[in-house]
């Protein structure tokens, strides 16, 4: 299971990458492998304000639908439009090409309350 060191993680298997007051968000390698072949990604619109835990969209495989939850409070300032036509990117490149949205964080200190890679790895082990 690929768990990059530099990212933050949530219990719902989203990752977040802090970039200068912004957070880039996607789903983890574990999440994509549990879902199987992703066939559709439906993301909220640019400009939407979200609170931590709100839905940023849904990810669908043939037989399952999963919500993507916001790791922090903020506003969606960018949406990855490539996923509309290439949902398979989520399976192949979940940490780079398949980022989902970029959030402008209301409170950048919220990021540090998320799990780091080591805690996420432990969390996955405990879940199993």
């Amino acid at each position: 299971m690929n768990i990059p060191d530099e990212l933050y993680y949530t219990e719902n298997h989203e990752w977040g990458k802090v970039e200068d007051g912004l957070m880039r968000v996607g789903i983890t390698d574990y999440a994509q492998s549990e879902l199987g072949d992703i066939v559709f990604v439906d993301l909220a619109r640019k400009g939407t304000s979200v609170s931590k835990g709100d839905s940023l969209g849904t990810v669908e495989s043939v037989k399952a639908v999963s919500e993507v939850y916001s790791p922090v409070d903020g506003e969606i300032v960018e949406v990855n439009e490539a996923l509309e036509n290439s949902p398979e990117l989520v399976n192949h490149d979940c940490y780079e090409g398949a980022w989902m949205v970029v959030l402008k964080m209301d409170d950048p200190s919220q990021a540090s309350k998320l799990m780091d890679s080591q805690s996420y790895e432990d969390y996955l082990k405990a879940e199993a």
Partner: protein, 485 residues
């Protein structure tokens, strides 16, 4: 015991789409032309040809005959889809409904005898289920559930109460939550007890003033009779809530136990399951709704009435009714087939249905539970659930087992349902399976269990004998092609 037979390989038919064989002038059909069309000059699309293929009669006949050969039906062999009750569909029922075809529902004189029989079916269904009033109009099981939820919603409204949620056990059918939501309720999932049925004490924890109803299937999707149902009904009624029963599994208790006696207030039955009408590749079915007296005023419109002269008519003046749920009378011909089925069996053979259905299922369970994991050891009725736990160690899944059964000439059982069992295989043979067919199924399952240890790869690639191999559903969903160009 007969060994696992090799089924003849299907001819590999690559049947084209009709549009690819279409060419101008192939279709030479003459249709009735009683009128002079020269006066028709004012229709906007009169010049344009409709966008459908131009093929000859023989091509149409061969095309659909070849397509039919790619299907598996109940007349081929056992179709043990749990909770779907794929029993033999008696041919006489089709013949009985044939003369309905030409009748227009506005033809009142012709409709009177039809309504008389629909009325009789309502009475019989009420007698069989121990319920007081029936509406035949819902066109399918899910439509019946929705209608039932609307009836309950209306009853609460008349009582001047707002109750927002319906409790649904984790063994419920997939449609149940969606039907509740469209009926205006929220849903709360209730876990079953350790033995695979809902207990009164579990229910108690979930009861409060916001509970409109409990929607339960009895026997449930594990094939287990909800033995505390009477206590459950009493608790609900004390709480001012209703008991709704999904009658999908009525075949198990037909003529042997009546939902009405269990305290059920509202339920639906599936004529295409319990009463032997064909499934038609996904419909038309029929999902009549049955209620106790208290809920009768809310049943959908119209209501069948008999006037002084003995003429059966339709009554629309019922102010408390939820209203109409279908543009006409539901799937009338399906109802007539179900009535013919009931009359063909008669009062003595009807309870034999449940008996043989339960015996067949318990025979299979006994034979198969050594080879496959049996997650619940509680006695079962007409169906039972195995899991792929034993085969999982060799990498063989419920899906592999299901697909491999196709190679032995069977339709697979329901898989991955109910959700309370991981890797579920839900098996319902029904009463119409001969012992020899059950034994053939056992042999096939034995061979699959064996193969999963010595040749699992073969199972991953199953089925090998079907017209097409496993279908790429991912590609279908990623690149949507929903019609020909």
């Amino acid at each position: 015991m007969p060994g696992r037979e090799d089924v003849a390989r299907f001819p590999e038919i690559r049947e084209p789409l009709l549009n690819t064989v279409s060419a101008f002038g192939k279709n030479k059909r003459i249709v009735p032309e009683p009128f002079d069309v020269s006066g028709v000059t004012d229709l906007s699309g009169a010049e344009e040809m409709p966008a459908i293929p131009d093929v000859s009669e023989v091509e149409t006949v061969r095309h659909f005959t070849r397509l039919s050969r790619l299907n598996y039906g109940i007349d081929h062999g056992m179709y043990p889809l749990g909770s779907c009750t794929m029993k033999y569909n008696p041919k006489i029922a089709e013949a009985a409904a044939a003369s309905l075809q030409s009748i227009h529902p506005a033809d009142r004189n012709a409709m009177s005898p039809v309504l008389k029989y629909l009325n009789l079916l309502q009475k019989y269904l009420g007698d069989i289920c121990g319920m007081d009033a029936v509406s035949l109009w819902p066109a399918a099981g899910a439509h019946g559930e929705l209608t039932g939820m609307m009836v309950i919603s209306r009853a609460l409204q008349v009582r001047g109460e707002t109750r927002g949620k319906v409790l649904i056990p984790d063994t419920a059918h997939g449609t149940n939550p969606a039907s509740c939501v469209i009926g205006g309720f929220g849903t709360v999932n209730v876990p079953s007890g350790e033995e695979g049925f809902l207990t009164a004490s579990i229910l108690k924890e979930h009861l409060d003033g916001d509970v409109a109803a409990l929607m339960i299937t009895n026997p449930n999707t594990l094939g287990i009779f909800e033995r505390e149902i009477r206590e459950i009904a009493d608790l609900l009624h004390e709480n001012g809530s209703y008991l709704y029963m999904d009658g999908a599994n009525l075949n198990a208790i037909l003529g042997v136990a009546r939902p009405g006696d269990m305290g059920v207030d509202c339920m639906h039955v599936n004529l295409h399951k319990t009463f032997g009408t064909p499934h038609g590749g996904g419909g038309p079915g029929s999902g009549p709704v049955l209620v106790k007296k208290e809920l009768a005023p809310y049943l959908p419109l119209p209501v069948i009435d008999e006037d002084e002269s003995g003429l059966f008519t339709l009554e629309y003046d019922r102010p408390l009714s939820i209203g109409m749920v279908h543009s006409c009378l539901g799937n009338v011909s399906v109802c007539i087939k179900a009535l013919a089925y009931i009359l063909s069996l008669g009062p003595h053979a009807l309870p034999e249905v449940a008996k043989a259905a339960c015996l067949n299922a318990n025979y299979l369970k006994k034979k198969l539970s050594g080879l496959f994991e049996l997650p619940y050891d509680t006695p079962t009725l007409h169906e039972f659930v195995l899991s792929d736990k034993k085969q999982k160690d060799d990498g063989v899944t419920a899906l592999d087992i299901a697909k491999s059964l196709v190679d032995s000439g069977f339709h697979p059982p329901t898989v991955y349902f109910p959700l309370v069992v991981h890797g579920a295989l839900m098996i319902e043979p029904t009463e119409t399976e001969p012992l020899q067919e059950l034994d053939r199924f056992v042999s096939a399952m034995e061979e699959i269990a064996g193969q999963s240890t010595y040749d699992p790869g073969n199972l991953h690639n199953a089925p090998h004998t079907s017209p097409v191999a496993r279908v790429d559903e991912t590609a279908a969903a990623r690149n949507l092609i929903l019609s020909w160009p």
